[in-house]
């Protein structure tokens, strides 16, 4: 028994040595690491789902206050400060910004007048190329940035006019307000499993990396299939019977995926999308097994390298479209559940999908074994 296990390790090591002797395989492993490191570095810079050109009059205190509120927090939008309104509109016309927000020259005075009349009237002119959901959200952000100054002005006017407390000075009114002012957020982001989200650490620019690497790992599995098929054609496995050849593929594929999984985990760590060590390692290990069973099934169905070549591009397109990397399609549920990366990406923050991935792996292994058996009988 021990000799058998020892032999297995020796064979595994020989396959590993063969792989590591190929400089392009090393390049293949190094590229994702370089990509992850580069992306992580570049993603630290300012980015946003829409670019907003801001024109704020320099001598208006309220406008400056609203500007500070907009620029002083981590935002989904990228703000470009402009010296004049014309400059801001020109940026929109040229497509360099999605919208321009031109603050009123007398914002403070207008806001005070509106507060006294309890009316809402335009204080900011918004120029857009075309309305869209992100720009609607941006306008909500703008309204929310204006609202604290406006609600304060309404409070001030209400206290002096409606309550008739005319003896209170501006300073006293402000002090009363500040003594009870409510701060902090009423919302907290959490992952599906209830764990906290570290929104500060990861940008959405880095987030798709895990998905790209998951697809990369499936292709690494397919590379193992092609390599195995080429060796079969050369007669390397000529002396092995059906079942042993079946197991040999798992051995070859396992070595490929072992390297790939290590790179995947390292890339996630480098890019800042790594969560918990145990969770990451378990999910990646189950995913690697799932990929191995999946590519083995494709090997049995396609039979020749040429047919594997035929399915590569459609498979890449299907994984890019159906796995939650860039898109999240509402339909094609069955299609999604056929692809191992879908389970992996879901399982990181939800253990239920980890179990589902394990069950799916077992099903794939079973189907593979049945097909192998049928082939042998035929």
């Amino acid at each position: 028994m021990l000799t058998k296990i020892g032999n297995m390790f020796v064979r595994g090591w020989l396959i590993q040595k063969r792989l590591l002797c190929k400089y392009s395989f090393l390049l293949l492993l190094a590229l994702p690491l370089l990509f992850a490191a580069g992306l992580s570095r570049l993603a630290k810079e300012e980015s946003g789902i829409a670019a907003i050109a801001l024109y704020v009059p320099k001598d208006d205190a309220t406008a400056k206050q609203v500007e500070e509120r907009l620029l002083g927090k981590k935002s989904a939008f990228r703000y470009l400060s402009c010296e004049t309104g014309e400059e801001a509109v020109a940026l929109v016309e040229a497509g360099a910004a999605d919208a321009a927000w031109l603050f009123s020259e007398e914002m403070e005075e207008t806001l005070r007048e509106l507060a006294e009349k309890r009316r809402v009237r335009p204080l900011v002119k918004v120029v857009e190329r075309r309305d869209s959901v992100p720009l609607l959200l941006a306008r909500e952000t703008l309204s929310a940035a204006v609202y604290p100054a406006f609600s304060y002005a309404v409070y001030e006017s209400y206290v002096t006019q409606d309550l008739g407390l005319t003896e209170l000075t501006d300073e006293m009114i402000r002090q009363t307000y500040e003594s009870v002012a409510v701060t902090g957020s009423l919302f907290a982001p959490v992952y599906a499993d209830g764990s906290n989200v570290e929104t500060e650490d990861v940008s959405y620019v880095q987030a798709p990396l895990r998905g790209i690497l998951a697809i990369w790992l499936v292709f690494l599995g397919l590379a193992a299939v092609l390599s195995f098929m080429q060796d079969e054609e050369r007669g390397v496995y000529g002396r092995l019977s059906g079942v042993r050849r079946f197991l040999a593929f798992y051995g070859v594929g396992g070595v490929y995926l072992l390297d790939g999984t290590a790179v995947l985990l390292l890339c996630c760590k480098l890019c800042g999308v790594f969560t918990d060590v145990l969770r990451e390692v378990v999910c990646a290990a189950v995913f690697a097994c799932c990929v191995l069973a999946f590519v083995n099934l494709l090997r049995l169905l396609c039979r020749t390298p040429r047919w594997i070549g035929v399915i590569l591009l459609p498979l890449a397109a299907a994984m890019l479209a159906l796995c939650p990397i860039f898109l999240d399609l509402q339909k094609c549920r069955a299609g999604k559940r056929l692809l191992p990366p879908w389970y992996y990406l879901q399982s990181i923050h939800n253990t239920r999908y980890l179990y589902q991935m394990a069950v799916y792996t077992a099903v794939l292994v079973l189907i593979g074994a049945v097909i192998q058996r049928l082939r042998k009988e035929a």
């Binding site: 395989f25 590229l31 927090k73 040229a94 909500e140 309404v154 902090g184 009423l186 999240d328 990406l345």
Partner: protein
Amino acid sequence: MRRIAGFFLAQLKRVCRLLQVQMGVSLMICSCAGVLAAVLVAQGAGEGQQRYRIGLVGDVSGSYLGFGFAALQTMDDSRLMIELLEMTETEAEAALAQGELTAVVRVPDDFLDAIIYGDNDTCVTYSAAAGQTQLGYTVMGEIADVASTLVTASQSAIYGMQRALYENGRADRVSAETDKFNLMLINLVLSRSGFSEVEILGYAEGLSLEAYYFCRIVLLLPLLAGLSGGVFFLYRKNALAGMLKAGGVGALSQIVGEYLAYLGFLCAGFLLPVFLLAQGLERALISLPEWEGVGAAPFLALLPAFFMATAMFAALQFFLYELADGIVNGLMLQLFVGAGMAYLAGYFYPSAFFPQRLRSVGAFLPSGAAARLVEGSFLERSAQGAGVAVIVWLAVFLLLAAVVRQRRILRG
């Protein structure tokens, strides 16, 4: 020259033998694209703007909170961008996993009491969908920030008003004034969109989002075509290159001959998708804001730029297969370089989402140069810089491939 032509013809014959494979790939791609388009149409992507769909978990019926959420869906401007759906935790989790929701918001039972008494110590939690996870959290973070600011600023004003009454000996009026002031603020919050007046310019310059993605998706196919192009390199032998060299066909000539055949091989695979796309545009099954009612003519005018980009991508793929020792590593390089370049050049997310330096890197890459060329052609604008960049990249890849081939020949 005659030898090179002979070698090229021999390669073309090989391409003809592989055409059935390429047609198979082409058919599969078209079928996948057709299914995807049908799904997107069924999902309503083509019908105006899509809203953020948010699942609401927690019992909000029969409370002020329920009224508040009903008001959000009927009176508030946020209804134009947010669709709130009440559901159970299990339903929400399943819908989130299936990509039917942008996020799930969980309202704790004592949330309203915490707001009323100003404790604000109980938070509403939200989880974004797995797809575009961080983007979902970014968007939800913005929505949460808006909602939080509106509530806390209103709370501050109300508590300030109450404190002013208490401090000035008018405690008897607190209850009545609170109701009055509260209603006033609710009205003002509901009409907050009036703080801005919107002017829509239309597309004076630049592309609509639909046109942007159209250009990128059209280019994604040739960029990733190296995966199916692997069959062309499947049974390549090093010895043949040495033999050809001995016969007078040098490394560069070999590369040019093989490359042209490979380009023909790729182009043959694109005939069907291009034909179907042109038909879709002609019959108005596919529509772009810039091309409404003009049929397929502008798309056909785009084909020379598309061909140049394809020629450059073919050179890149050729170089990668030359660089990799063996088809297996070649395929992996194709996938990673293709997908990586596509991502950096904004083929999946609009490049405007990226930081400035990342956008500069993306624009410099071959995928970025190709996108600038096709976009320039789309806008009927001069894109000479992009055209030159594409040609330079093409030449660089062919020369590098020749250098690698030369080294291979010398090593035997």
